[in-house]
Symmetry: D2
Subunit: 310 residues, 4 copies
């Protein structure tokens, strides 16, 4: 017997009705996983094609977010930037909300946006947590995302099981906005590690070291990091990672640059010096301007190494 | 029965005569370990106090390096900089060498210095490898240093067992100079990781994250590195590490700055862009100028965080 | 015969009624100059003390900006940041505006704020230009400010004579927001020049050059800039500049840091790499965190030079 | 009557015999100017083609520098790097020198090289000054170079008139090595100004400013520098400068990168933090690795601006 979404929903004691807003590369995969777990899906996207693709899988398409929210127990938003998140929430709740609805924003945005949205959702009578993700398109596809949740302990407990339908690690980072803060800080450090690893590997190679030998040394020493161990930017060292596939797939330069832009912004607002973070930001921005936005962010190695012609 | 050095020497089939030049913080501990392993020690230092301290432990003091070298099967040099290493070797071999002597330079210097010294030692008829160390004063004390060896496979095999008297990991990095190259590259990456971790932790704290919670997140995510896991610069996160002891002990700002100076120099000579390495270099140089040279290099966190008065 | 403001106003064919919002260090001096030129002043400030100080000079105090605007031919705003400018304009015009009123924002804010404010003022039927200033408190005091105006040519011509009551150079930079863009870009370059000059002078001195001799060389060569010629950060080289008065007065570290924050923000939004600008930003942010916010921004020289104790 | 070099020499009371070592792009033009001023030229170059080209103009070619030096009243060296300068002088004087000979090194090298060479020349009984130049190939061609002289006041006075045969500004910078120090520091600041101007102009353009309008603003304000006024990196703003000729001619990226390498080296040795200098260094090094070494260093603008395809 095939377990259809409908059947799974009936079989599950936790199955519920979920509104999903933002059905892009990440969102459509996350929403599909929720359906596969037995939830009933209400969906909205500015692109009718994106919405209809989910309709074909059994979701109900809404033409505005206000009605979608009123008809849903959970609402997940997965949107591209600060302004769109703010506008979406301001519009969605302006006619009032169902007080039982839990809103979850998985977009990557400024923590202050999360704090603002939480306030207006709370003032309207419902609940909100920020819960940005890491793990990329593959994590979304395979329901192995990490969620970084900002909210009260009660709210965290309320969303934890639900989010496990889309991810495998659900972390409580603190109060509202702290999920976003954790994601932005982690990704800033990731960018620094990647740029640093790329320039270190390039220097090592140019000094005459064998990259494989040097990588073993650094990985068993104090220079090791996720970037050197798991996604080493030198092609061939991690055979299944993007650098070994011409920097395709993975975490794009465009996305790390976006996250670094958020890091710069919150550093300015909190008066926090981030010299290496800011420099990494502008190195990636330079790479964007050179047309490398779609490549895995480890392409920094290829960008800084000497051309063969030199 | 107490195992005296003399007894250990008699008991060991590998015990030999070792010349040791440079008996500073590192050198005197390394030489002591060699004696404890049963080797006969011939020592030289520009400071007669340093030499006499080893004499009290049973070493024979020489007043010049030429005679010391001729009387030793292995010669280890542990000296402060490029010029002193070059001059010491040029002087030591100018009257000729014992062809069976293996010279080992454990100083941290430019790989080109190692290549030059190898050439002149080789021309004189003896053998040379570079074998800089990591692990610091504690590693020297406890014979747990890592040695990064540059030389042929035969030479590596010849020194491996001997170096195990002073360390626990003996790595073959490649040909002459590659031990130095590996150390300099690893330490440049280490500095980048530490500065990056410090600014990331500071940003996280200023955004409202609990440092302990955020550290757990980063350490199980893509932002992790040796600096975040083992020597996190926020006091209290690694209770036995220098940041939890007011940045005392550990790896000094002065020493990482020296290594970053070498990295800058070899990057210039090899035409390798090291933007984050160079910036980390000058951040540490600024800290040196502020009197922080003797503190553990994780003191960067304290340096960049806001004063309580702000 | 003493020329009182009233008399000056009667004597002047161009005297008019001016609303002034924001009477801080800059604003109160600018408003005073306008009164001295014969204009009738309507004033508003969140601080009643600031407003009353202008009342004592002959200005009329308003308790809200809506009535002030309706009673004024020109309205000048001189406010601290993006949010306050936006909120002030949104509030000021919400009951409608006098169509003949020309609004002039002299605050330093994001050009996108200017564009937004221009749109809402224009939609309400009145006119708006952005016109941030350079020249500091002394320029405000002496009516020698430079105004950088963003608006149409007609609008520029309409405000030019009026602004000459507060400054001596009135520049037309382009359309709405371009006054702000010009100011932010100029000040980013200024910060880069100042940090660069400070590290260059420090290096020169440490290499053994006499700072006076080297300054003459650089100023007649390719290394010259406003920072080296007019406000050289080495004390004594420009005897009447802030570096020669213990870095008091001048353009504060806090203000250049604010401008660099705006530069970072607009660079992010426009995808423009600013590696040196971003690094200068975070060097100044570090200096802020060290309590140097009130010193002239040339204090960077003092910050990076070696302590005498080293 | 045509004034041949021979005739000019006879006519000049100051005409003398000059040895010239290093007849590259700069050296051959400088030597030619000296001949045109009436001096008798003795020349040496590792390239016999370069030497023979000068022979065709009337110079006497020497096959080694020792004899050349003994036959010359002044000896000028114009060589590519530290090692070649050191080796050339060590070799040239090892058989003794004519005590009246004044050696002038116009190469761009580390001030410590100058100090070392001065010591060995002085020990041999002759005199030495360092006198690096700015002004490039055009300055060499037209005898309009600037010379930065390191030596005693007497030595400066002795070489001043002679150097005026190749340049128009002869500056006394201080003692031995200070000519080099001044040049390196000036050029570091120049690089910072150029990178800063490039990123500022690019940001301005992307924010919507007209580059011509913004350039006028910055040049009459605090953001001005030699780079913005004389060699603005935006094509068209200085019609006769390299940026307006596809970045051809001018001061090459390869040469500024070499100078920045020297700045990094002396900053390390003197413990001087140069954050912007070091970052500019590695930005130029990145550009070298991208094949831009032969372009004018203002090509940084082209390098960082967005591709039209974005």
């Amino acid at each position: 017997m095939k377990v259809t979404p409908q059947l799974a929903r009936m079989m599950s004691t936790n199955a519920t009705t979920v509104g999903f807003i933002g059905l892009g590369q990440m969102g459509n995969r996350m929403a599909t996983n929720l359906m596969n777990k037995g939830h009933k899906l209400n969906v909205y996207d500015v692109s009718s094609d994106a919405a209809n693709a989910m309709k074909a899988k059994g979701a109900q398409v809404f033409s505005n977010t206000r009605e979608l929210a009123k008809a849903s127990e959970f609402v997940v938003t997965m949107l591209p930037n600060n302004d769109i998140v703010t506008q979406t929430y301001e519009d969605m709740i302006k006619d009032g909300v169902n007080k039982n609805t839990m809103f979850v924003d998985s977009s990557t945005v400024d923590p202050n946006v999360s704090k603002h949205v939480q306030k207006i959702v709370s003032a309207a009578g419902a609940s909100f947590v920020d819960a940005p993700v890491s793990g990329g398109v593959m994590g979304a596809q395979n329901a192995t995302l990490t969620f970084m949740v900002g909210g009260t302990t009660d709210e965290y407990n309320r969303v934890k099981g639900f989010l496990e339908g889309m991810g495998k690690r659900i972390t409580h980072c603190g109060t509202y906005g702290m999920g976003e803060a954790a994601k932005i800080c982690n990704n800033m450090m990731l960018a620094i590690s990647m740029v640093g690893t790329a320039e270190t590997m390039n220097l090592a190679v140019r000094l005459g070291l064998d990259p494989k030998v040097f990588n073993e040394i650094i990985n068993s020493s104090t220079g090791r990091s996720w970037a050197s161990e798991i996604n080493n930017p030198v092609p061939g060292l991690n055979p299944t990672a993007p650098p070994s596939d011409n920097y395709n797939g993975g975490f794009s330069t465009a996305l790390i640059t976006k996250d670094l832009g958020l890091a710069s912004s919150v550093a300015t607002m909190s008066n926090s010096p981030i010299p290496l973070g800011a420099l990494s930001h502008h190195i990636y921005r330079l790479m964007l301007s050179k047309g490398l936005g779609n490549k895995d962010f480890s392409v920094i190695y290829d960008f800084i190494k000497n051309d063969s012609s030199k």
